[in-house]
């Protein structure tokens, strides 16, 4: 179910934008004709030998006679991956491509065995003996900053790698004058983004040119090229990176993997083709993790439950190294910047730290910090409602931002959104009074139902200034699009974004179709190949439809302008009298018309006719670097809790969402659906669990437990549309929003169901074990 309504202007009179057309990506994918990295044949296959120890010193590496086993000693001169921040007391650490001397997490690559098949490489890797002098492992973020904890990297005292603090000038006065201080100690456990296609790389050497072509499953092909060229000290022009079909990314594929650097190095070294396809265990232990945070949040409220001030302590356990390019500052610094969320609060104090531990490096995962901070803030609001004995919806009504533009305590400017309206739409649709009656009846029978709300804002489509504010040495942000109408009249758009399931080939074609009047089926959007696509940053952070979409619109408008000029010449009419539609330029009110194909042919082959007034050819470019816009949503969960087992079933899930103008409602709904399912996994099921020695106990999908069709209820969607003034397509980003709300909504619902037991859970995932432990303690206490 999905309903769309529009607040403000926009969405009017459009032919292609706003329509649920079928995806142009699908025909190949449903016929098994997609091309994924692991589909390519290679002369050599690689198996990595990985550290079984979380911490220690390598004493020796012994490979069987005749085996090719590359170690750090063989790749001397290959630079470490050392991402940089120029702020927040950042301590740079370098990640060697293969472990040098020290190992710092279970799964760290120590050697690369090369053989003629995957099986042979695996057999040989099993025979490589690694002798490691074991050292004490630090697994937990809090343990890493405790007195006397071992130091994991030289130059990083107390293991604190990012240390950011902020306090607004009026904070202390407001804090001491508050009527109530409410506190939430939240724990967001570690996750793995788990794309269905794990990591893979394939590098081939071209003997004629000496170039390397690296196919890899990545969200950011150009940045992979830049980074690998840096590591290997080679010209970027000698490296071609191709992201072919990519089987999901969710942020895990927007950091540089040391494995990809090594595969490119091997292809140059062996002058041959070399491939590596990760297995699922490697992905779960050694790719990139996410979400591991402790957040303590306190809110100071006045007597009317109006939030006056927030104080946050964010401790992110970012693992053994810092991810490239965003650095390990990504989670804590996003938490610091966006903690106040959709609420009006002008006084704020925050301490946000990233600490290194002997665990897998943390990278991005859909939503990054926002599932955790929304979870914490929304738990705090429910606790405050309880403290003031008012309804959870009522406390949100008193505190949500309603005046725009709004400047947050951190200085972020929120553009117009619909925080109150989405919540009211959700409240009405879910029918709270009917639920409360059903809840009471159920309780009388010893059954426990609960309802939970999550309201949030989501910063999307932000350009380079937002990354510059974090002090990043690399500030992604802008995007460029080149559009060509070729002499046959077909349209090709080359984009720097790198979609992997988002349907951008379709939505960008709709934007172009709207401008130049050619059907989307005649428009091919090309991406993922650094030889053909313009330099760009890839697809992540709910950015592509806003930023690449904006660049597309700019370029398409230029094409439109040129087509009108050509049509003016060919039809001998004023440009203002010409409309572009159905693949033709038509003079309004007459039967005079010319096809886009004929105009395109003319633009290349009959340029003399334009008397120097129109430049030859039909290619235009657009570049866009917007300030950023805020999407928003209200999620509602209704859960049934089995008090005997601790099992939670999500019975109903509803989203009221505002992502500005929607280009393709079908695709937008799909993005929200997928996000919500991942969020429910985050709320209830998925957790990377380390034992004390640093070994991972959840190293297969049966133990990590991504949700199946059984755990995800039908998701009800309601879209409001507040067209953005900070995005030229008026669209806001929505790739991550679905993932952000569920931990808060589901766990608030669990806590509502737990009310009769007088216990609360502030940890995600809220597993049956954790819920039963609380209930057992409560039973003992009573």
């Amino acid at each position: 179910m999905s309903e769309h309504s529009t607040k403000g202007s926009g969405g009017d009179g459009m032919k292609w934008v706003g329509r649920s057309i079928r995806r142009l990506e699908d025909p190949a994918l449903v016929q098994g004709r997609g091309r994924f990295t692991g589909d390519l044949p290679a002369a050599h296959w690689v198996r990595f030998v990985r550290s079984p120890n979380a911490a220690g010193k390598i004493r020796s590496i012994t490979a069987p006679d005749g085996a090719v086993a590359i170690t750090a000693a063989d790749i001397e001169g290959v630079k470490k991956i050392t991402p940089m921040l120029h702020k927040f007391n950042y301590k740079p650490v370098g990640q060697p491509i293969l472990a040098e001397g020290d190992v710092r997490f279970v799964g760290e690559a120590i050697a690369a065995v090369v053989a003629s098949s995957e099986e042979e490489a695996e057999d040989i890797a099993d025979l490589v003996e690694i002798d490691i002098e074991d050292a004490t492992a630090l697994i937990d973020g809090r343990a890493a900053i405790a007195d006397g904890a071992p130091q994991i990297h030289a130059g990083v005292p107390r293991n604190v790698i990012v240390n950011a603090q902020i306090k607004t000038p009026g904070f202390d006065d407001v804090w001491t004058s508050a009527a109530k201080i409410v506190r939430c100690e939240a724990r967001s456990n570690r996750q793995n983004a788990t794309p269905m296609e794990a990591r893979a790389a394939h590098a081939a050497y071209d003997a004629a040119t000496g170039r390397i072509t690296l196919h890899c499953t990545t969200q950011m092909p150009h940045l992979v090229r830049t980074a690998i060229a840096d590591c290997l000290g080679m010209p970027e022009s000698d490296l071609r990176v191709i992201a072919p079909d990519v089987g999901g990314g969710f942020g895990q594929k927007m950091s540089l993997c040391p494995e990809y650097v090594l595969i490119a190095w091997l292809a140059r070294h062996l002058k041959s083709s070399v491939a590596w396809t990760e297995d699922r265990r490697e992905n779960l232990i050694a790719s990139f993790h996410s979400r591991d945070q402790y957040i303590t949040l306190e809110g100071a409220f006045d007597a009317n439950a109006k939030l006056l001030a927030l104080r946050a302590d964010v401790l992110a356990n970012t693992g053994a190294y810092s991810c490239f390019p965003t650095t390990c500052g990504m989670e804590p610094l996003m938490a610091m910047a966006e903690m106040p969320g959709p609420y009006d609060v002008q006084q704020y104090e925050c301490l946000a730290r990233a600490v290194v531990t002997n665990t897998c490096t943390m990278g991005a995962y859909r939503g990054v910090s926002r599932p955790a901070i929304t979870f914490t803030l929304e738990r705090l609001m429910d606790k405050a409602a309880k403290a003031f004995a008012i309804d959870p919806i009522d406390i949100r009504r008193r505190n949500l931002i309603t005046q725009f533009p709004y400047k947050s305590a951190m200085g972020l400017e929120y553009d117009e959104a619909s925080y109150r309206e989405t919540m009211e739409a959700a409240v009405e649709a879910i029918n709270v009074p009917a639920f409360r009656a059903r809840q009471q009846l159920a309780r009388d029978k010893g059954e426990y139902l609960g309802i939970g709300f999550a309201t949030f804002s989501e910063r999307t489509g932000y350009g380079s200034p937002a990354f510059a504010a974090r002090g990043m040495a690399i500030t992604p942000g802008w995007e460029t699009v080149h559009i060509t109408v070729d002499p046959s009249g077909f349209v090709e758009a080359r984009i720097g974004s790198s979609p992997h399931g988002q349907g951008l080939r379709t939505t960008l074609a709709q934007i172009i179709a709207e401008e130049i009047g050619v059907p989307p089926q005649m428009i091919k959007v090309v991406h993922g190949d650094t030889d053909t696509a313009p330099y760009g940053w890839g697809t992540f952070a709910s950015r592509s439809l806003v930023i690449s979409g904006g660049a597309t619109l700019i370029a398409a408008r230029k094409i439109r302008a040129k087509l009108l000029k050509i049509a003016g010449h060919m039809l001998e009419a004023a440009e203002t009298d010409i409309v572009l539609e159905d693949g033709k330029a038509k003079v309004a009110g007459t039967d005079r018309e010319v096809t886009v194909a004929a105009m395109a042919r003319e633009a290349y082959t009959q340029t003399h006719r334009f008397k120097g007034e129109i430049e030859p050819g039909l290619t235009e470019s657009g570049t866009y670097d917007p300030p950023g816009t805020f999407s928003n949503a209200c999620h509602v969960a209704i859960v049934r809790l089995d008090a005997e087992t601790g099992h939670v079933k999500v019975e109903r899930y509803l989203v009221a969402e505002d992502a500005g103008r929607i280009i393709n409602p079908m695709i937008a709904d799909g993005q929200v659906h997928g996000g919500v399912a991942q969020g429910i996994g985050n709320a209830l099921l998925e957790e990377i669990i380390y034992d004390e020695s640093g070994a991972i106990l959840t190293a297969n999908l049966a133990d990590f437990m991504p949700p199946t069709a059984h755990e995800i209820p039908p998701i009800e969607l309601h879209h409001l549309e507040t067209p953005s003034t900070q995005s030229i397509t008026r669209a806001k980003g929505l790739g991550e929003g679905g993932t952000i709300g569920p931990p808060a909504a589901v766990v608030n619902a669990i806590n509502d169901a737990l009310t009769p037991f007088n216990v609360e859970i502030d940890t995600i995932p809220a597993t049956p074990q954790r819920i039963r432990a609380l209930l057992r303690n409560a039973e003992r206490a009573s």
Binding site: V30, G34, I715
Partner: protein
């Protein structure tokens, strides 16, 4: 472990004479020895179902079956679903209902759903969700996969 056995795998009606180690999984043999890369490998533990193919009319995880066990059996993969240019109703339904995003799990879901519906055309909605919960998708939240399979089931009953 390197002694190879000559076998014939019959995939989508075509015989492939290949030589495989006894430990070679059917999934690897289909992809690497027979070059049919539409079947994907997601976990090699039998959990995700991305590698689902139809063997003698039953959907199976091809990562949990050895290639030598499939000799003499009829194997169907995603490449054999369409009839020339005409898509199978299941493929068409996935396109019509946005039942896929990145497309990596899609061949497994298509083969699972086709295998089950051919055996049980009147399967109940509840039982269908039981069946579909045997495979993992990370993109769609299953909403549109369920919708697609229901639409295809109706079409296949016609």
């Amino acid at each position: 472990m390197t002694d190879k056995t000559a076998i014939t795998l019959t995939i989508n009606g075509k015989d492939h004479k290949v030589s495989v180690e006894p430990r070679r999984t059917l999934a690897d043999a289909i992809r690497e020895d027979c070059g049919q890369t539409g079947t994907h490998i997601g976990c090699e533990h039998g959990v995700c179902g991305a590698c689902t193919v139809i063997v003698d009319d039953a959907p199976v995880r091809s990562c949990l079956m050895f290639a030598v066990q499939a000799e003499g059996k009829k194997i169907r993969t995603v490449e054999g679903l369409a009839d020339g240019d005409k898509l199978h109703p299941m493929q068409q339904a996935f396109m019509d209902n946005h039942g896929l995003q990145c497309g990596f799990c899609t061949p497994g879901f298509l083969m699972l759903a086709v295998g089950v519906l051919e055996r049980e055309p009147d399967i109940s909605d509840e039982a269908l969700i039981d069946v579909l919960s045997s495979n993992l998708c990370r993109c769609t939240g299953y909403q549109n996969i369920i919708k697609s399979v229901r639409a295809a089931a109706a079409e296949m009953r016609k």
